[in-house]
Symmetry: D2
């Protein structure tokens, strides 16, 4: 039956080497694995180098971080994410990412947007999965990786 | 077993008269039914009067609208929401609510935040479930309704 | 830019008369509004008549019920859902729906599956959005409504 | 303001050594990191040994797998999950996990339940986050790990 076929669902595998990491400056890297724009879902993998810092932001949905190498932390907390660390960030949480060691690998599984905040806690900008995807695709092209097959939809 | 008891889950009913509507200006009203801050979930019921308008905003998560009386629309679309209308707003959608008839009742089932936009499409402010809840609780107290038992958590 | 266009998102309105209600027996009716098979989301509208009963089931995801007319309850609880009632059913909740008054209208906004349970609490069957959609489409055709434009995907 | 404090949200870190792995037979291991029973969310980490097999099951919500070492596959597909692999399993997908190499580490980020299927594709049993948590806590106690501090709620 047509409806059954339409609804048939397959698990999708993306091997570690299938999608390129693009350079986002100073040897820090980004790979966008999956974006469901209508759900607000975006899943990325980053490689950070020591000293890399992400602007303070508040999340509008829950976020999870899975770290597989290196070391990074939030300026607001003492704990350090290392290989094997699990991090849960509820919607509404605010923090400033700082990378502590080179070659830090993290998967971020995110819902909603990052509301970037300036020094006074005012909204400076908003970044979401669609924006991240467009940036990733543009950098892939600019850096000679062509058009990667990100899971979108 | 203790764990089983902790995990036992009950359906929670909120009757139509259980929580107050607060006046948010000009006879327009708000009731906050449920907020899960960590999920970014917020569910409200509004009563709008003809001419009421909500600032243009973009959603960071999906939203659904269930209309039970009156008439309202988005300035960007032709269709009009009336009793029985179902509305699905994917994350990333942008629109400007306008109420067309008095006594328009709508349930909004929302994930994420409203990114309010100014005339140039720049971010003017951000509203989410926690902010809506705080406003609702403050108005309940100011308008003599005490502390209502919103589902939170 | 192509990527931007792909990601452009529009709110989708389904007017109260746009999709048919199919008869599921004894004057009880079903309309399927939206199914996102990969998310486990299904949103339906039911019209129940007094005496209608749904097999006891446990939900694997959260569910919300928005009632607009009539009266219905869960056998396990005292409260009665009437026009204006809001109902939150966490994942894991178990209950047996009973309709109390004719012409009871309810929107159910559901994630996951209904695990139907027999008299001993054992799994009897599983119903989810894809199964509901296939049943709805088959009944639409059998009852002369053609192929309705349910939001799927 | 009290409401603000109630809603303040903190990111929660679980270091790789903080929660124990319990033995679930033949050197295969399980750690339960987070369960939100009302959302149907459960996040676990497994260590599988070559030859381990999980009963064929269908998911009622979406699932993601993040592999950090070893090798495993689904009997139904050719691809092999290795260190760095990302796997997306939409709700409704059906598969049979087989571990190919010893010391295979995977994080599974899951919504909904596993509907375990027998050889005829009939429902054999249902496993969800609450059941997994109870099993994990019982094994922790039986294996001398006391009561671990799983994120629940």
């Amino acid at each position: 039956m047509a409806a059954a076929a339409e609804l048939e669902k397959q698990a999708v595998h993306v091997g570690g080497e299938e999608l390129p990491f693009v350079d986002i400056g100073d040897g820090n890297k980004l790979k966008v694995l999956q974006v469901k724009p209508g759900e607000g879902l975006w899943i990325v993998e980053n490689i950070f180098q020591a000293g890399y810092e992400v602007q303070t932001h508040r999340h509008t949905g829950p976020v999870w971080g899975y770290t597989t190498s290196g070391a990074w932390k939030y300026k607001e907390y003492e704990y350090v994410n290392r290989a094997g660390s699990f991090l849960y960030e509820p919607a509404g949480s605010i923090h400033t990412l700082q990378c502590v060691e080179d070659a830090t690998h993290v998967w971020f599984h995110m819902y909603g947007a990052n509301i970037n905040l300036d020094e006074n806690g005012e909204v400076a900008s908003v970044v979401d999965g669609s924006i991240a995807l467009q940036g990733y695709l543009a950098l892939c092209e600019a850096q000679g990786f062509g058009r990667p097959n990100v899971l979108v939809g």
